[in-house]
């Protein structure tokens, strides 16, 4: 078990170098002078531009720039972005906000997705099952940004139940509306996965045995059907966490959430290599850890799974 975790953690290194190298190169290859872009129509004196270029090593070849970035990273000094703000402080500001958003969205989709899925799966073909199936299909078919704008307008502006945007001082309450939007599509997938898995396991031998032993219905459902049905769901949720952390650009944009997605979007517009790669580095770690957790959960869900040969 420990060896398994260690091995997985060691895999992080090549993944990490590979991703940062690739992303750094893609940013490097973007056309346009990022310093000139900072200023727009009204350019500052050339000395200002040249000093900034030197400060951010923009005149150096790619390998030097990337090397300097790695060197900074390993000395835990991420440097400053083009507006002079320390990148570490930016990360410390944006990641908690997005983490809150992601956890809230994940909780919504996990709790409601699994619960609805179990009910639908147990009474396959019933009215609840049919309704939920159609409803989830609709949710999957509607793009997130449409859902976002509609929710924002209906609940934020017309009904006034929530603030239309999040803005400064994000907390669990203000993040609820974007979290619902963010979680809704995955909620539909979780529901469908759970439903399929549950209805398949219902006819499994061990369920029949458990029922024959005289176990109560709730015990059969929770301990035998549900637990064995969760493996595909957990796999999906684990992969989804990374997506929620990094891929919430559209939702964060609609609801003006001062999180990772928004920052990443701005950094890309400004061709700010160091900021983009710093964010991506943290995202890589999130992905790896989330996947590791999923793998460890497998053994708990299904004791037949072993990690060490």
């Amino acid at each position: 078990m420990v060896r398994f975790i260690l091995r997985r953690l060691l895999q992080v290194i090549p993944v990490f170098i590979g991703t940062t190298l690739l992303v750094y190169y893609m940013v490097f290859a973007l056309p346009g002078d990022p310093i000139a872009a900072l200023f727009g129509d009204r350019q500052p004196p050339q000395a200002v531009i040249d000093t900034l270029r030197a400060q951010y090593h923009l005149d150096e070849p790619f390998w030097v720039q990337y090397g300097l970035f790695l060197q900074n990273l390993f000395t835990f000094n991420l440097g400053n972005d083009f507006t002079g703000q320390p990148i570490a402080a930016t990360l410390a500001r944006v990641f908690p906000v997005t983490a809150m958003l992601a956890i809230e969205a994940l909780a919504i989709q996990a709790i409601f997705g699994v619960a609805f899925g179990v009910f639908a799966g147990l009474r396959r073909g019933g009215w609840f099952d049919s309704t939920v199936l159609v409803a989830s299909l609709v949710v999957i078919a509607v793009p997130t940004f449409v859902l976002g704008f509609v929710f924002q307008l209906v609940f934020g502006v017309q009904l006034g139940w929530a603030k239309p945007t999040v803005g400064a001082n994000a907390d669990w309450g203000s993040l609820l509306l974007p979290a619902v939007v963010l979680g809704l599509v995955s909620f539909a997938y979780v529901l469908r996965l759970t439903r399929a898995s549950v209805s398949e396991n219902m006819n499994a031998d061990y369920v029949r045995t458990a029922t024959a032993k005289g176990l109560s219905r709730p015990r059969v459902v929770v301990a035998h059907i549900l637990r064995n049905s969760l493996i595909p769901v957990v796999t999906y949720l684990g992969a989804n966490l990374g997506g929620l952390m990094g891929g919430a650009i559209v939702t964060e944009g609609i609801f003006n959430v001062p999180g990772v997605g928004n920052k990443l979007y701005q950094a890309v517009l400004r061709t700010e290599g160091p900021t983009i790669v710093s964010i991506v580095s943290v995202l890589v770690l999130v992905f790896v850890v989330a996947n590791l957790l999923v793998d460890l959960l497998y053994a708990w869900l299904d004791p037949r799974i072993r990690y060490d040969q």
Binding site: D33, A36, P44, A89, I249, N256, N262, Y265, L283
Partner: protein, 561 residues
Amino acid sequence: MRFTRTSKALGMVAIAALALTGCGAGGGSTDSASQSAGDPNKVITAYNSEPQNPLLPANTNETNGGRVVELLFEGLRSYDADGKPVNALAESIESADAQNWTIKVKQGQKFTNGEAITAKTFVDSWNFAANSKNLQNNGFFFESIAGYEEVSAVTTEKSADGKTTTTPAPTAETMSGLTATDDSTLTVKLAQPEADWSLRLGYSAFYPLPSAALADPKTYGENPVGNGPYKFEKTGAWVHDQSISLVKNPDYTGPRQAKNGGVTFKFYTDPSPAYTDLQGDNLDITDVLPSNATKTYVSDFPDRNASKPVATNGTLNIPGYNPNFQGEAGKLRRQALSYAINREEITKVVFNGTRTPAKAFAPPVIDGFKADLKGSEVLKFDAAKAKDLWAQAEKLQPYDGSKPLQIASNTDGGHKEWIDAVANGFKNNLDITAEIQPFAKFAEVLDMRKKQTLPGLTRAGWQGDYPSLYNFLGPIWATGASSNYEKYSNPEFDKLLKEGLASKSTEEANAKFNAAQEILFEDLPGLPLWDYAKPIVWSNNVVKAETGWNGAILYYNITAK
């Protein structure tokens, strides 16, 4: 697997970048009539985005920081709603020869930390801003003052691979033309007479700075201490990427008295959520509308919107290095292009009246503007004339139409629609192929403009720094000027500008500047397109709001319900 995830995420960013639109403008004009006393202690929330630099006035040359800096400081003069300069910290500003200026500074004025503001404060602040070592973006605003050359000096080194690097190398620490004879008297000697010099004194670059700012500009810029109608609510009132909270400065006595208790700037990365917030009264005012709202903002905010012409215009520049537009034939072709643009129709159909057809190289809100300058008839749409001029040019030198005529622009600011319309005008009236040359980012266009590698035309825009005709001519069209990217040069034009600057009266100066504009109409290095109007909308919490001459909201004048 993880690789693809990451690159997918990046791909999504790129798509989002293309899909989102930048600033847009709205249309129509409605004056709200209801005017009550309002609540003088209520705090207004206003749209803004993260400022790019620490908040030092002489370093702030972008709108986001500008909105804040203008409220934190007061200068010798300040501009009223129509752009007329009025004395603020200055008791009087006098000059007999437009070269030697004597400014009497009001006594008893203080920064919010208690530090007194004297003539010496201005000497120190201006020397700091002009010094090339301090890398202030707006340092060049002091270029007229004698001794600027020395404090702003730089050395340029050329490395082996031909790259040039400019490094600051001031040969003096103070400008020789700047002296504080006593606490209340500031004398300024300019390098040459400049009639409109005192017009600039309301611009943010000329604001006074406390000594703490000069000692450690970066730290100071995080928590600036000023002398304006507002001050930071507390140390750390600037939460990066989120908000800046300002409260009324009770000790302020200038012309811009705050009629509300404070302004909290909420930061947005896109104007759309701000617009929704306004609809839900979760934000009080914005001067940036999403481009899809220009048609709807009047009906979305009945009695809660305003639109006013501002000192901003747009042009279509024709690089002189393009062989199709050189010589006598090139001149005829530039005129033909101008005649082929139906400004009247485009401003009506594409912009819903939020822009008005250009009548000159400067917008009408600028003092000295004249609508019927010699040569300005090229701004009128005339298909027959356009065809005729193009045909004449063909006889002199055939047009190379192997590639379509491209109009370069970033596409993230709602520019595509009007460029398509202009290109269609060229196609229909001149029988040439024309199209937009799209760029994802403004920086890419700028890069090509600077390197002079644009294959065709480019759009350009200019927002006035201070209300003067010169500001719309000098920085853009003078030989070697900072924003003259297409490198237009005409000695006669330069001479008239210089003479205009050296005039003793504003009227005399404006006559020279207008004569200079007639040369531009002759040469047509760029085609004036339209002048902007700035629409704003406000929430149910606000009684009434308006914008100033440059399109900036007069936040201090807003009253809350």
